[in-house]
């Protein structure tokens, strides 16, 4: 088995879906993004979004929730390549996060991930950075969010 096979490079993995009910939208917004269009239907009606919609960070955090629930690569396939099993570490960051369409209350959003590539870290021998693309689609099939994130992996 190669690292490419272990990471499922190029294969889109379905992470499942999540329904953004109004209470969950408001609860997240009260803690982290209390803008009127995320907190209150009436205020949202007079806003640029016209209806109550989820914080973009709520939409993004649910990607991580479903990503973890699906399991990182090692929980989907057994490592049988040479050397020790690769171990996933923290993420150095993300790029090109786009909120393409509002996620309104009641919307069910489907999430995916796809590992794109990986490379050795010259500053950290024994570690690689894996780039993973995340996407989210609403019930009409429109893409509502996308981003590319990195994750450090301890691997030969």
């Amino acid at each position: 088995m190669t690292l490419d096979e272990y990471f499922a490079i190029g294969r889109t993995i379905d992470l499942g879906s999540y329904t953004f009910d109004a209470d969950a939208i408001k609860a997240f917004a009260r803690r982290y993004d209390p803008q009127p269009f995320h907190l209150d239907e009436h205020a949202a009606a007079g806003s640029v979004f016209k209806k109550l919609c989820a914080s973009g960070w709520h939409t993004a955090a649910v990607w991580m929730k479903l990503n973890i629930a699906t399991g990182l690569a090692g929980s989907i396939v057994e490592w049988d390549g040479p050397g020790p099993r690769p171990v996933f570490g923290p993420s150095p960051g993300l790029r090109n996060l786009k909120w393409l369409k509002p996620v309104y209350a009641g919307e069910t959003v489907s999430y995916t991930r796809k590992a794109l590539n990986h490379r050795a870290l010259s500053k950290r021998p024994g570690w690689r950075v894996l780039t993973v693309s995340g996407e989210a689609f609403d019930s009409t099939g429109d893409k509502v969010m996308q981003f590319d994130s990195g994750v450090l992996v301890e691997a030969e």
């Binding site: 803690r31 982290y32 993004d33 209390p34 803008q35 269009f37 640029v48 979004f49 914080s55 973009g56 960070w57 993004a60 955090a61 649910v62 991580m64 929730k65 973890i68 570490g89 923290p90 993420s91 150095p92 960051g93 993300l94 790029r95 090109n96 996060l97 786009k98 909120w99 393409l100 981003f147 450090l152």
Partner: protein
């Protein structure tokens, strides 16, 4: 309704805005992680200490959300904000640990009027959070849309 403090015209390239500080508690780290990122280093002190992060540490998504709250309280809620199309990049540069005190600030990189909607301006921001030791833990660059002060909806 009183006019917002911050409209598009108030953002000047090169200027900085202080957004205040926030204490990061173990309870909040674990609550966010339980819901959105249930990995051991975000849920358990011992697992965090044993990890490369060196202690009970906030999910990177939680760090983004905490910055968003500082941005809201420090500026956005008293502005003509019309949302943001996305984030150019986020860097999780250093672990955010239980007990940390984060200070956020931003610098205005560029401003321009929307071509398709002249009442709207786009402001590109570089944001950063430092911990209590002065170490930069988080960086972000993105563009946020604001109405101009003289647009009808801004007042």
């Amino acid at each position: 309704m009183p006019a917002s403090k911050w409209a598009f015209e108030d953002f000047v390239a090169g200027a900085s805005i202080d957004l205040g500080t926030r204490k990061v508690t173990a309870e909040e780290i674990m609550a966010f992680a339980s819901e959105f990122d249930p990995q051991p280093m975000h849920l358990d002190e011992a697992a965090g200490k044993a990890s490369i992060l060196g202690g009970l540490s906030a999910s990177g998504w939680h760090t983004c959300a905490m910055f968003m709250r500082l941005l809201c309280d420090g500026m956005l809620l008293d502005s003509t904000c019309q949302g943001a199309p996305g984030i150019d990049y986020v860097k999780w540069k250093h672990p955010v640990l239980a007990g940390d005190k984060l200070t956020a600030r931003l610098k205005i990189i560029a401003t321009r009027i929307s071509r398709s909607r002249p009442a709207l301006g786009l402001v590109t921001l570089h944001s950063e959070m430092l911990n209590q030791h002065g170490v930069s833990v988080f960086e972000q660059e993105n563009t946020i849309m604001f109405l101009k002060r003289d647009s009808g909806a801004a007042a």
